[in-house]
Symmetry: C2
Subunit: 224 residues, 2 copies
């Protein structure tokens, strides 16, 4: 477990080597290896430790009472697992976590995380920034889901991309299939709505690119 690897973990960004050595020697932080298909956490298990992936990737899955498995998401190194659920009252893993390949991970007990964050203000800020990032993504997705129609979700999505790119021509950052899934709608319905919006003169689509033709109407759409 060398400094170079550790400094690449977002949680330890901008923290000097001697500080990291100090932190790691004061706390019981273990590096653990998991083989492919090993379980890193069980669904509904008490979330009493922070797991940070050093290498490899895992998948999160929900299991229903009849034993069926539904995949939820993949997480890659060097990201942490379920950081938003580490604290709180009845903090349990929302999904079962399985190694998709050979995985190395830091495992830090909740108690040690607390002490670690108390020891170093930069570390604390990193932790809070990372948590806020996840929360912002959750919040943004909820915002999308709360629009009633697909047209509104698309309007919101394209306006966001347009604002970020500072251009009326936006490039989709996901496949349309992935976008449909992100919106929680069926793929054909998404395609149909894109076609309709082009017919209505709101946009011009070509492959991965979309040109916004009537920004005013798009803005109007997302406000009822």
């Amino acid at each position: 477990m060398d400094y170079k690897t550790i400094s690449q973990i977002p949680l330890f960004h901008s923290i000097e080597e001697k500080e990291i050595i100090c932190i790691f020697s004061a706390l019981k932080i273990t590096e653990t290896h998991f083989r492919k298909d090993a379980l890193l956490a069980l669904q509904d298990e008490l979330c009493n430790r922070l797991i940070i992936l050093l290498s490899g990737s895992v998948k999160g899955e929900m299991i229903d009472p009849s034993g069926r498995i539904i995949k939820v998401e993949d997480i890659f190194a060097p990201n942490p697992l379920a950081i938003l659920f580490l604290f709180g009252e009845n903090n349990r893993f929302p999904v079962q976590v399985t190694a998709r390949e050979s995985v190395t991970a830091l495992v830090i007990s909740k108690q040690s995380v607390l002490r670690m964050l108390s020891m170093n203000e930069t570390l604390l800020k990193n932790y809070l920034d990372i948590s806020a990032g996840f929360a912002a993504r959750l919040s943004r997705k909820l915002h999308f889901m709360s629009f009633r129609t697909i047209r509104q979700k698309l309007a919101m999505y394209m306006l966001s991309l347009s604002k970020a790119a500072q251009s009326d021509i936006v490039e989709l950052d996901k496949t349309k299939s992935a976008l449909a899934e992100y919106f929680g709608v069926s793929r054909p319905s998404l395609e149909r709505e894109l076609t309709k919006m082009q017919q209505d003169g709101l946009i011009l689509t070509s492959k991965k690119e979309i040109e916004i033709k009537d920004k005013k109407e798009l803005v109007r759409l997302i406000h009822l």
Copy 2:
């Protein structure tokens, strides 16, 4: 600003008076009064301070470009505002915050929050627990929103209540109007679905109470 008031703020739970005095004297924490209709924060304003309500309540509103106002939520003392958005990269208030009545609030700069959390481990744990609580609520709501049909959302909702109450007879914790809004569906559609589910023998509704008649089918519903 007395100890009794401060100790009732969730963030300062279980912290002794002398500790609080120590923290407050080391940092610049100001108690601010706002009259009815005063603005505590602007939409899209940089979120560079933590605001904790001591008394009174505020409303969060979104404003669209045409100037229309859409109410989002109310927040009451002794809760904090937008605690999940204080840190992170481009951390801005998602809504405009207006006093609904006369309001007293603690205003603590982001920098001071960092220092404060470094000073006291209990305070840090409180902060993380509170944040986790908000994140869990966000996540739970997203879970509901991601079900496609109203029937599935209702099944999930009733099973959750049933599990919490350890009974097949559950009492709704919101009005049906509020529940419809929480689900992001129209009220008549929610009522219709409840009626249909009763016709189908899944539940038995009477006023505020719902009796679960076919738990097995409800469980099946929420897994496709």
